[in-house]
Amino acid sequence: MKISFSWLKQPSLYGMLIIVALLSLFPFYWMYVIGSSDNSAIATIPPTIVPGNNWPANFAQITEMFNIWTVYRNSFIVAAVTAILQVFTSTLAGFAFAKLRFRGNQALFGVVMVFLMIPLQLGIIPLYLLMSKIGLVDTLAALILPYVVSVFGVFWMRQAMLSNVPSELIDSGAVDGAGFFRIYWSLALPLVRSSAFVLLLFTFLTAWNDFAWPLIITQTPDNFTAQVAVSQLNSANNPSYPSILGGSLLMALPLIAMFIVTAKQFVAGVMDGAVKG
């Protein structure tokens, strides 16, 4: 575009971007450097910036604190189930808001927009009481249930339905005698799959990285998720930085892999959200 200040000409432009890229990536690299070194690497002068060869010992120390595979499994179950259910409830409601005619459609959507402003984390105490009442404290179900629906998800999928699903398609489907659920499932859903996929990625990411709620609702190591496990490593009785940073990296690896594969969709998702929101 037209905005290009004179100091942003080629060499300094790329120089600046390279510095920003290094700042973005360095903490990840450094997790690996410290995670593969011995205890002394954290405090050397000058700082250690090349990887060591202490992975096996550090890895063993991490596995003493918790079972990595159990934690991976828990986080994966929670994140995947949350993401799939949230995409389902959001596309269903988004379809209804965008494409179906019924009394109160506008008013109900207005209510949803108000919900968007509510800081839900502030209801955490009654939510805990509720989970304890229905006997779900220290279960994976308690980690999933509060996130099965999302106000943002409904908002996002309604936009996608509005801009991608032509109304004639609905009408022709209705004349055919197809049920409305079938119209949603086989006609509308395929047309919004890229937006739905972005929602799936974001929900998975958010659920995987969630910390406050799993911290209070899980109690036994069998139910720990990735972030709770890392916070356990970081407790006062473990002064070993290699295991803390190595553990953080291990718990971030699935997301790093996911991001590398889907970076394009991630970027597009954030930018689309900005224009629509």
């Binding site: 905005i3 973005s24 009481l129 099965v148």
Partner: protein, 302 residues
């Protein structure tokens, strides 16, 4: 024929309500009800193990006299100011850079700056806590060359709040950059062409075209970073190394840490609910003020 359409209309509205019901039902139970119930619990002396006693406004009376409430509020606002403003300015500058038409490898740069966003707040806190170690940390080592420090990042309140703000900045700057970039790309090119014809400088184009055009986006990012920033939890929790206490002197105790401490360490659910209500009101006031200002400005533009 007309009968068939009539039936399908009826079915259509039935389907509409049916398709919305999972969302409204579950949001009601797990989102709205807990928020409303928070207000209710705040009028009780309510411990986690079950004793409940109506105490009226006692929790609120205690809260307004509680020094920790004010210190946690000021810690939260301090971290929020150190993170939101620099982050949004940096994001806007970066967005201008990335908006350069001649830039190559666009997707690569955009992906790289978004990369920190996928890290958990827990991992960010762990890494930054190590980089900003008080003794032998790499930041203090680097500052040594400038003749500064060593800075007691973990002991000093303001220094530590700066580190916590840096974690937020690192994680969110790229995200906000892409939001701004999308807004920049939506500005009609004719506006700049006309200004060019009139001989306007780049700087005056920036202030007279770019900023007014992306004003709604600026307010969107300000509101979202406010609502998020005031609820900051994982970073101070992990960085302080003292759990809910938020540092040896509570120097990193944010509003949310205070809430969690009273609820899940002191088991005072009534009092912590009063804290939640207080935080709720503060967020509502700030978000409301943002909203009023932005709608006024948008009107002024038109």
């Amino acid at each position: 024929m007309s009968k068939a359409i009539h039936i399908s209309r009826k079915e259509e509205s039935r389907a509409g309500y049916l398709f919305l019901s999972p969302f409204f039902l579950l949001f009601g139970i797990f989102g709205l009800l807990p928020i409303i119930f928070t207000f209710y619990v705040s009028f009780f002396k309510w411990d986690l193990l079950g004793t409940q006693e109506w105490v009226g406004l006692d929790n609120y009376i205690e809260l307004v006299a509680d020094e920790r409430f004010y210190s946690s509020l000021s810690n939260t606002i301090s971290i929020f100011l150190l993170s939101s403003a620099p982050q949004l300015v940096a994001a806007l500058l970066l967005a201008l850079v990335l908006n350069n038409k001649k830039l190559r490898f666009r997707t690569f740069w955009r992906s790289v700056i978004l990369f920190p966003f996928i890290t958990s707040t827990v991992a960010v806190a762990v890494v930054f806590g190590a980089m900003f170690a008080d003794n032998g940390g790499m930041v203090n080592w680097a500052l040594g060359f400038l003749g500064v420090g060593p800075v007691p990042w973990h002991a000093d309140g303001l220094a530590g709040q700066f580190v916590i703000a840096m974690m937020v900045n690192w994680r969110w700057t790229g995200y906000n950059t892409l939001i701004f970039l999308a807004a920049l790309q939506a500005i009609p090119a004719e506006l700049y062409e006309a200004a060019e014809v009139d001989g306007a400088t780049k700087l005056s184009q920036f202030f007279n075209i770019t900023i007014p055009q992306i004003r709604p986006t600026i307010f969107f990012t300000v509101v979202t970073s406010t609502i998020g920033g005031l609820q900051i939890f994982a970073e101070p929790y992990m960085f302080s190394g003292t759990g809910y206490a938020g540092g040896s002197d509570g120097q990193f105790r944010t509003m949310t840490l205070f809430l969690f401490d009273q609820a899940f360490a002191q088991l005072r659910l009534g009092y912590s609910s009063a804290i939640a209500v207080g935080l709720f009101l503060i967020i509502a006031i700030i978000a409301g003020a943002n909203f009023l200002i932005s709608s006024k400005l948008v009107k002024a533009d038109k």
